[in-house]
Every structure is written in C-alpha cells, then in structure tokens.
C-alpha cells in the first residue's frame, strides 16, 4: 500500500451547461480527517458523488489502497468500504428511525430481518452518540438535527474505511458537533479516513489534518492544517483567500443604526397543544430588529416559528401583530399579513426540485405577477433575475432545475424567494445553512439591507458566531421554553449555553 488510502486523479465531470469538475485530484491518508473546502458550487458534492458511485465521472481514475477501482453504484462503493453522509438528507418518513439506520443492510438471515438485533444495535449506536431517540419512532417526526445524527450514526456503523461527511453538521448545534468529533477522533485512531466537507471554518481547523481546496470545479491545492516543520497552523484568512480567490477581512458586515422602539410583533404565553413542544413563549420583536433565537437541538425553535407561520396549531396564548390580534391560521394568511418563513429543511419544505429556478424564486409571490389569473412572464423573469443576481446564485440560467444546483445555491434561491415577497417580518430558520463564507457575508448584508428598509427579522441559528454576530438581541430556548434573553454586548458563548441547557439532564436531543 502506498502513502494514500484513496487517490482520485484527474476527475472530470460535465453536466449540461456546467463543467462541475475539471481535472480534480484528492489524496487521502488512512487515519486522517481530510477537509474538502470550496465555495458553493465549487464541486465538492459532485466529487464525492463520483467517489460514491452516484455519478460516473467523464474522466479520471480512482485508486483504493493503490488499486485502481471502478465504482458505478452506491452498493459498490459500500462494498469497497466507503460510507457517505449526504448533504441532502434522505429519510424515509413513514418508517422507523432504526429502519432508516439499517436501510440497505438489514441484519438477519436469508432475507429475514432480525428486528431485535436491529433495535439493540441502533440503541447501542445512539447511546454511543448520546442521542436520546427511540429507535422505533417514525423518522418523519424527527427534527432535521436528529435526522442528520441518524445519518451519521448510519455511516459510522458501516465499519467503512473511508467515511464521507458532506456538511454533516449543517443542522447540528455545538453540543452534537462535539459528540460527532468524539466519534471521529475515536475512529481516526482506528485508521478510518474521513473526508469532511463543511463551511464552518472553526470545525475545519479543529478536526482536520489536511485541507484540500477547490474553486469553480478545479483543484487549488492541499495543505496540512499544522505544518510539520514550522509548527505553523493554517489560518482562516488563508483558507478563505484560497477558496474565494480574494481577501476577506470581516466575517460580518458592520451594523449601522439601531432597532426602533416600535413593537411590531408581541407574542404572549403561546403554547403548543403538544406537551413536549413549545410552552409559554413570550417576547416582543421591535421594528428594524434582528432577534436571534438560540438553543440546542430539540429546543422547539423551529416548531415555534412554524406555528407562528400557521404550519402548526397553537393551543393558547396571544399574538399581536402591529398591535392587532393575529391568529395564525395558515401560511397563506401569515403571508398576507406580511410574514415570511425560510424553512429549515430545504429539501422537504423548501425547494420544488423538478421546477426551474425561475418558478422556485417567484412561487411565493405569484399573485403579484398575475392579471386576472394570467401570469406576466416578462415581469417574473425580470424580478427573479434581479433577485438571483443580487444573491449571486451560481447557475447557467434561470431555466435550470433547482435540484441541479449545489446545496448552497439552492438556499440562496430560497432566500431570494422570500425577499421577493417584500414581507415586513422575515423569519429565517438557519438562513446560512450550507452556505460558504463569502456568500454568508452577502446574506448578512442583505439582512441588514432589509433592516435598513424598516423590516424586522427573527433568526434561528445554531451557529454561535452568527447568532452573536448578527442579532440585536438573543432569545434562548430550552426544551420548548424561553429560558432567557441577552442584549447586545452581554453575549458570550457560555451565557447562551447556560440558558440553552437550563433543563439539561432530562434529555439532550429529544
């Protein structure tokens, strides 16, 4: 065996209208974590899908332990000791969590599934990851974070030699990331190689041994995180410069102006009919304010904003919108009252995969372009074009199907969708999930632009720096209840965590 466990050489892949990969290489050593970085649409996921047999590359070779290997299907990849956590989650919603974990490799004999062993194994696996989920619960009832942990558990359990993690932490909060890293460290010691894709700089520098950077479908270079000779560490700035090809000094655009004292949204003692969900949520949202909502997985933040937007029922409590009583009936009603919700799960509740970018951008604002029910295509095109350009959506044309965009670019289209509705209150649930550093900055800029125009924003974020960097005020939730508020200036990670784990000990991730 040579120096590398995996060598990918001169991989090229073209899609209609895009050269996604152009002579890319990737060399991974056994027992290391290899970070793969690049902007949205750089081709990271495509490269991994070529390795996992989902795409057939147009050119190039893959060597495993020095042996040339052809991989044409996921099955073959798995047989070759490769496991993958996909960027887009693929739960089977009406089946149990444990069946999802063991999909495609159910334990048993001669085609008969051994349920007991499947249950026990899943339980053990989850205990290991400190995940408090009933293996028999339906996957569709779990939050994005739990689904993500579920997929990680699945990959970990495959006893693979190479584990590909394509943005595994996009819906996880720090606590779960910690568990994940524990597992990675343990497996790394056993000689497992990881390919780790993430847009979270901090994670990359913490966990990885080497970094390969890609830009626009080409290979930029590979660097060790700690230089063996000089002992020097790779810096944020260096990586970003290699990724975007230019300097970036600030992570957050400067905030000018202050929230006004005018209250646009007042929520009082709002309770879910479900006992385990949000209870007694009260807060005020001021005009031109960014209210951040922090908390761990299972804090019911998403459930709460979904209820606000009429997607879930509210049992009791009062909501005042601009001083008038607001009863959240349906998303359509919420929209007509000037609310917008960017949902957390892009794939399930965001994109219309088989529709072009154009339709995906204008869909929430369709009525605006219609005259007697007939759509004005020119106006739709023009608006979609402006908005997508503003957000720098990387695509050959607006007619491209959104499912063919990279994950980050899909997210940008969704943001464009809600900006088009010109709503007064933007509720953003993990707005920068899966978005690269450069694009994040752009999105922060757009958020501030909206604020300057007199809008208000509620932002759920599991990324501490983002939460602290962007919010005017942070509300922290824990297990469905609001546990505290922090004003700008008082933010520290510890304080937020203290509130977020107020009831800790009961259960961490249920």
């Amino acid at each position: 065996m040579g120096e590398y466990l995996l060598e990918m050489k001169n991989i090229t892949k073209t899609f209609p209208g895009v050269k996604a990969l152009d002579n890319v290489q990737l060399n991974v050593r056994a027992g290391t974590v290899h970070a793969l970085m690049g902007e949205n649409g750089a081709g990271k996921s495509t490269l991994m899908k070529c390795l996992f047999g989902i795409y057939n590359p147009d050119g190039g070779e893959i060597y495993l332990e020095g042996k040339k290997t052809n991989i044409h299907s996921a099955r073959q990849a798995m047989d070759n000791g490769i496991a993958m956590v996909h960027q887009e989650l693929h739960p089977i919603r009406y089946r149990s969590v444990m069946e999802n974990v063991y999909l495609g490799r159910f334990p048993g004999h001669m085609g008969v599934v051994d349920h007991k062993s499947m249950y026990d194994k899943t339980k053990a696996l989850f205990d290991d990851l400190e995940l408090d989920v009933d293996p028999l619960a339906l996957a569709g009832e779990q939050s994005a974070a739990i689904l993500q942990m579920m997929e990680i558990a699945r990959a970990v359990d495959m006893k693979a030699k190479i584990i590909i993690l394509d943005e595994p932490t996009s819906s996880l909060s720090d606590r779960e990331v910690e568990h994940l890293f524990k597992i990675i460290n343990r497996l790394r010691k056993q000689g497992v190689a990881f390919i780790y894709i993430s847009h979270k700089m901090k994670e990359i520098l913490e966990i990885s041994d080497e970094v390969t950077i890609m830009r626009d479908g080409t290979y930029v270079g590979t660097w060790p995180v700690v230089n063996k000779e000089t002992g020097e560490k790779l810096t944020n700035e260096f990586i970003i410069r290699q990724m975007v090809g230019r300097e970036m000094t600030n992570q957050f655009p400067p905030r000018t102006g202050k929230p006004s004292s005018e209250v646009v949204l007042k929520v009082e003692n709002v309770c879910s009919p479900l006992k385990k969900s949000f209870q007694n949520v009260s807060f005020e949202l001021h005009k031109q304010e960014i209210l951040g909502i922090g908390g761990l997985v299972g804090a019911q933040r998403t459930e709460f904003v979904e209820a606000l937007f009429g997607l879930r029922s509210i049992a009791s409590g009062e909501i005042l919108l601009n001083g008038a009583r607001y009863a959240s009936k349906s998303p359509g009603f919420a929209k007509s009252k000037g609310l917008a919700l960017l949902t957390e799960e892009r794939r399930a509740t965001g994109i219309f995969g088989i529709l072009p970018i154009l339709e995906n951008t204008v869909i929430a604002n369709q009525r605006h372009y219609a005259h007697l029910g007939v759509l004005n295509d020119r106006k739709r095109m023009a608006d979609a074009d402006v908005e997508c350009k503003k957000l720098n959506v990387k695509t050959p044309s607006l007619a491209t199907l959104i499912q063919n965009l990279s994950g980050g670019n899909q997210q940008k289209v969704l943001i464009a969708r809600w900006l088009l509705t010109n709503s007064d209150i933007l509720i953003l649930d993990e707005p920068t999930r899966g978005i690269d550093v450069g694009a994040k900055y752009e999105i922060y800029n757009i958020m501030l632009e909206q604020i300057a125009q007199g809008k208000s924003i509620i932002m759920i974020s599991s990324e501490m720096p983002e939460l602290m960097g962007m919010s005017d005020r942070i509300m922290v939730m824990c297990e469905g209840r609001v546990t505290g508020f922090l004003n700008k200036g008082e933010y520290t990670q510890e304080k937020i965590m203290a509130f977020a784990t107020q009831f800790a000990g009961h259960n961490t991730a249920a």
Partner: protein, 408 residues
C-alpha cells in the same frame, strides 16, 4: 399526575370486556331455547367467539409495557378517527341485524369470508404496486388469463365442446402452474417497463392490461373453441375452489370453504414478507423515498421486478381459484377486479403516494366491502344504491384516514 389516574392498561381492558362478552354469550346460549329467543339466531355463538378473541388479545398484549390507553375526550376522538370505518361497519352490521335478524348466522359470516377470499388475494397482490407509489391496472386481466388458461386444460373427457379435444386427463397441477407462469411472464413485463425505463406503473400496467386481454382473447378464440365460454370442468379441478371443510360437523353447518384457509395462508405469507423480510422493508423504502433507497445501495431494479412478479403470481392464483369456483371461464373473467382491489387497499389505509400500508388494514378493507355489499343485498337495497353507497364509502374512508397525517 392526573392522566395517570385515567389510564388503564390495554390488556386489562381487553381481558375484562372479553370476559363480560363471553359471559353474556354463554348466558344467551343457554337461555335461547327455553326463553323462546329463536330470533337471535347465532348471536350467542358470535358473542362467545368475540369474547374469546378479546380475552386472547388481552393476554397477547400483556407483555407490552408502555401501551397505556388514555381515557380522555381527546384520546376518544382519536380512537374514533383511527377506527372510523370499522365502527361504521359495526353500526351497519347492527342495523342490518335489527332489520333482518337472519343476518346473525354463522352461515352468513362464512359466506362473507368466502366471498372475501379471492378479493383479498387480489388486494394483497396489488398492495405491492401501491406501496411503491404505483398501481397495477393489469391485475384483473391477469385473473382472466389465468382462469382461461387453467380451465382450457381441465375439461372432462366426455364434454362435447373441448378446448383441446385430444388432451389427455393431465394432473391438476399442470394447468395451474401453466396459468400462473403465464401471469408471471406478464408480471415480469410490468416490472421491466417500470424498473428499466422508470415508466410510471399506471402507464406500464395499462399497456400490459391491453396486451393481456388481447392475448387472452386470441387464445380464447382459437378453433375449435372460437370464443365459447369454457365449460365441462373436471370435478377434481372444481374442488379446488368449491371444497367445503368440516361440513356437517353439526347439523346445519355449511362447512368452511377451502378458499378461506387458502387466502389466510397467503395473507400470513404476505404479512411475513412485508414485515419480516429484507425485501418487504425495501418495498417500503422504495415507496417512501426512492432516492434514499438508491443511495443506500438497494437494488431498485431487482426489487421492482420482484414486486410485479410476486403480484402477478397472486393474481394467477386468484384466477385459478375463480375458474375452479365457478367451474368455467371466459376471457372477460376478472374484468375490473383491480379497481375493487385498489379500493379495498386504500380504504384499509394503504397510501397511493407510497410507503404506507399494512396487511391488517387491507384485510379490513376487503372485509368492509364484502360485508357492506352482502349486508345491503340482505336487506334488499337495490344494486344501484349499493353502487352509490360503495362510492361514498371509498371517499369518506380515505378522507378520514388522511386526517391522521394532516397538520400536527
């Protein structure tokens, strides 16, 4: 907490109510004759059976902890929606029993089960296609094909109008296997079209349906038969569909039709396949999220092929049983059976969008349709009204079922 006071374990509930029903049944049984309660027919026997079943299921669910029944208004409402169609059927049965007490006979119940048998086999076949978010329009025509093929080889030597005048008296198994294989060939065609070209099953099976009917009609039209209904079926073959077990164990007992155990065995096998085998899990996975199945390394092509071949195997059995039961066949046998089977499945909670469905539900769905049809005939409701009622049931049942999945 308050709710703990009002909860009671399910097993206790079943056992207690079972015992109560059992006692009532036994009391009625012994009072029937002396009190002159002739008009209740077999009601005591039914009560005894129901009571025993209830006690049994009480014991069966004893091992399961956590399974508590909340006796609050909300839980009651949930119970109503979850079992709405079953309850509606119970109400209907009670109404029919009051209007026409003759309905309360073991003989009637056995009749209903017999009539359900082939329908159940059909529904169990078609549920696979539904589980992968497809459908199977060729099911009914496969029944016709299997019926014609098997009947054509099973005529008595002395019958004037033989399909194959010179055919010796072959073993019954040969035509059965031939008929089922004929169906499986077309099942494989269905599977190939769906799996290979990712054709929607609606289209693929529509094409096959037409082909099968054409092919079957050609066969049926071969000289010397020339499209005459096939008759003169050999008694040993007819027995396969007409035999009655245990008839006359007591006076007036009509016997259990052989179709009932046959369909029960198939039902058990399908339940096992869907719940306990890798193939079954894969079916749910492909239906629930095809992409996830692909990414998980499941061989979707092979599974889909197998789904349609297995389904056609069941249709083949249904067709053979139909030919045997009616001791005859024409090329129009089975026409439209697929719609009944699909209706029974969806009423039983199988989702047309794939991934959801249970064998228990399908059995329920089939029974509901037969009970209602039989019951309405029993109280002389006109066939036209029966149609209207059947349609309403499909719509209402599915509507209630879907409320379970709506807004959380």
């Amino acid at each position: 907490m308050a709710e703990n006071v009002t909860t009671r374990s399910r097993s206790k509930l079943f056992t207690v109510s079972g015992i109560v029903i059992l006692i009532i049944g036994i009391v009625l049984y012994f009072m029937k004759d002396p009190m002159g309660l002739r008009r209740i027919y077999d009601l005591p026997n039914f009560l005894i059976i129901i009571g025993l079943c209830s006690i049994l299921s009480g014991f069966m669910s004893k091992g399961k902890p956590d399974d508590v029944l909340e006796l609050s208004g909300k839980a009651f409402g949930e119970f109503l929606t979850n079992n709405a169609i079953l309850l509606a059927m119970l109400v209907l049965v009670i109404v029919i029993c009051i209007l026409q007490p003759r309905f309360m006979q073991i003989r009637v119940a056995l009749d209903i089960l017999t009539q359900s048998s082939t329908k159940l086999i059909m529904a169990l076949g078609i549920c696979f296609a539904l589980l992968i978010a497809g459908t199977d329009l060729s099911a009914g025509r496969m029944v016709g094909l299997a019926a014609v093929v098997s009947a054509s080889m099973m005529q008595t030597a002395t019958y004037a109008n033989r399909f194959f005048p010179d055919l010796p008296q072959v073993s019954v198994w040969i035509p059965i296997v031939a008929a089922i294989i004929a169906c499986m060939i077309f099942g494989a065609l269905n599977g190939f079209l769906v799996a290979k070209f990712e054709m929607h099953p609606f289209i693929a099976t529509l094409a096959t349906q037409v082909i099968i009917y054409g092919a079957c009609s050609l066969y049926f039209d071969m000289p010397p038969n020339n499209s005459q209904p096939i008759g003169g079926i050999r008694p040993d073959f007819a027995q396969i569909g007409q035999m009655r077990l245990f008839s006359g164990i007591y006076q007036g007992f009509p016997g259990i039709s052989i179709l009932i155990p046959i369909s029960l065995v198939i039902c058990a096998i399908i339940w096992f396949i869907l719940n306990k085998t890798v193939f079954g899990k894969n079916v749910y996975a492909i239906g629930g999220n095809r992409e996830a199945a692909v990414v998980a390394g499941i061989n979707v092509f092979r599974n889909i092929m197998f789904i349609f071949i297995l389904a056609s195997f069941l249709y083949g059995i249904a067709g053979v049983l139909e030919a045997a039961r009616t001791a005859g066949a024409t090329n129009n046998y089975g026409n439209g059976y697929e719609t009944d089977a699909i209706a029974a499945c969806v009423v039983g909670g199988v989702s047309m969008s794939g991934g959801i469905g249970k064998v228990g539900g399908i059995v329920m769905g089939v029974l509901i349709f037969t009970v209602i049809q039989y019951g309405l005939q029993f109280i002389n409701v006109s066939p036209m009204w029966q149609q209207v009622i059947k349609g309403v049931i499909i719509a209402v049942a599915v509507a209630i079922d879907l409320t379970k999945y709506r807004k959380k």
